[in-house]
Amino acid sequence: MAPRRIRSPQEKDTFRRIVETCFRHETGSPKPLPDDAADLIETGILDSMAWVSFLRAVETASGVADLGSGLNEQPASFASVLAALRDSSKSRLASVDSQEGMIGDVAASPAFLTGSSFAQGSRRVPSEEVDRAFGMPIGKLRKRAGIESLAYASKNENELSLGAKAAEQALRAGACGAQELDWIIATSETHRDYPSLAAQLHSRLLARENCGALDVGGGCLGLLNALAVAQSLIGSGAARTLAVVTADVHSRVLTPERVAGEFGGLFGDGASAFLLRREGESQAGPCYRLGDFLFGCAGQYAAAIQVAERTGGGLDVQFDGEALSRAAITRLEKVITAVETRSGIPRASVGGFATHQPNPRLLMLLAKQCGVSSDAFPPICSTAGNLGSSMCGAALHAAMQKEAKRKAGQRKPIFLASLGPGLLFGGGWLTPA
């Protein structure tokens, strides 16, 4: 039987740190923190709008989803919020305890990222050529979005070939044979064929017959969704070794015949792959431990990007570039703030930000908004374009490669943050193991 998990003093401190960080963020002032028992509304420290806003920020940062409900009939104080967080934590642990053989060792079985790879379409197309093809003024992609070139798949490349190439490289980097895999989890925003991408990769990699193959969605958020599923499979004990693969070939879906204007021209082709192992499995080279993930959907931006198949083969694209740009920056910064608060890792000490990269101009804006150097964002989209679900993967691989050059003990954490149509959002972090 797994030992009962006792809440540590560190966990108690985590709740206080989250509450204080969110409060300071809400009030935006360096004034002394109020007394724990002070009613923040009655004393006029927060108005009712700010109180609910503060609670929502604490919910996001702590992962406790029903905090607001738990605080009804309670004073609007730090003490109430901390008590509700502890109560919620207790009930979650009780739930874990009651199912011990099944999920009792979630916390004791962390997942490690032990290999990674990135493969991009082998055809490099200057952005001016893409401008011309999509009927845009020559130089628009370079001047307005900062895109110098796009990586397009050659005639012989597709999601399967790019994904398989990335997967084989990641397995090699992690010194892992395909027959060791318990699951292959794939994601793509362009692959719509059957068999699904995961099934095709399973056959191509020659995984064991009893290795599972699962496809997950989410558009550009697909990698984070897939990593969260992989982490859960490892945490539940259902898997020891998994491959997560992304592959996107936009150049065959968003063609000038189907999509006119800027939207189609922003995207390139690529794939990424990651090897994940349970703690205690053999590991080769530098590896990273997966932290928590946070996810959500900001529906107020749902109309900014919508793509639907049209009868006859065309695509109906609704793309409000200005609204989407604003939404992307605001949301990614919010996700990074939430990841920073939950992890307790200051953004200044992060080695790399593996984020979605809509285009280079927005990436620069995001770095500025976050108050960090743009050097911490691997520059993928300037030469490859927006790679969809593979964008975050390409950035993560580049960030891991950069950190691998440092000596063990000097490597820094990596933050993940991405978006998908909806507007889906997600974030997480990795720490060097």
Binding site: G28, M49, S53, Q74, G299, Q300, A302, A303, R326, T330
Partner: protein, 237 residues
């Protein structure tokens, strides 16, 4: 003298804000009568659906609260219309299917936490009606909040509910005389019967308003939710 159909009465703290509809030739537009020396009323003895006769004077420079008019003489009730008819008239006034159309400007997300706001310099009005695909109400940290999906599929979260009738209903629901587990019972009602009653009502309609500018932002709030709550619903939970 002008005729005004009272369509919303909202409550923020002790203050009441009133909006009505006025017919101007073929157009029906929202008008917010305010006292000569304030933006809100301490006492307003009328109900939604009342048609009042009153004298109104335009109030310049109140953007985005362009509906403001100073009420210079007392109100006189001349008639009243039913709830269903109020909703029908509201559909003929300012309406939008999309977030951007609500106040004819971009709606910003609160970067710190929850809520949405418009910039006072961008918003072209301060009240607008809309049809919703779905609507949910919840009590969060003792504050009543609404989340709704517009016809466009866009979602607005954590809107403060300032509709006087709905606030009075919630206050009545959690009054100490209602016995034990009042808030839990209310939450169950909001998660079950409430949803059916609201969404199945043929005259379901919502009006969203903007607060007065506060630190360069006008926050969105749920001014009106039709159908209005019925006292006998309290017997159901």
């Amino acid at each position: 003298m002008s005729k005004l159909l009272i369509t919303e009465i909202t409550r923020m703290g002790p203050a009441l804000c009133v909006i009505g509809l006025q017919r101007d030739k073929q157009k029906i537009q929202s008008i917010r009568p305010i006292p000569p020396s304030a933006h809100s009323w301490n006492h307003f003895p009328h109900q939604r659906g009342d048609i009042l006769e009153l004298s109104l004077t335009p109030l310049p420079g109140a953007s985005p609260h362009v509906e403001d008019r100073v009420a210079t003489r007392g109100f006189r009730k001349s008639a009243a219309v039913a709830e269903r008819e109020i909703a029908a008239f509201l559909r003929k006034a300012e309406c939008s299917d999309s977030l951007r159309g609500l106040f004819e400007c971009h709606i910003h997300e609160n970067r710190k936490g929850s809520g949405a706001y418009a910039l006072p310099t961008e918003a072209r009005r301060s009240i607008c009606g809309c049809q919703t695909q779905n609507l949910r109400m919840e009590v969060c940290g003792n504050e009543l909040r609404a989340t709704l999906a517009l016809s466009s599929g866009e979602v607005l979260r954590d809107l403060p509910v300032v509709d006087r009738d709905w606030m009075d209903f919630i206050d009545a629901a959690i009054a100490p005389s209602r016995g034990a587990n009042r808030v839990a019972r209310l939450e169950r009602f909001l998660n079950s019967q409430f949803h059916y009653k609201i969404m199945s009502c043929p005259h379901h309609f919502v009006r969203i308003g903007l607060t007065r500018p506060y630190r360069d932002a006008c926050w969105l709030m749920l001014d009106t939710l039709f159908p209005l709550p019925k006292a006998d619903w309290l017997e159901e939970f």
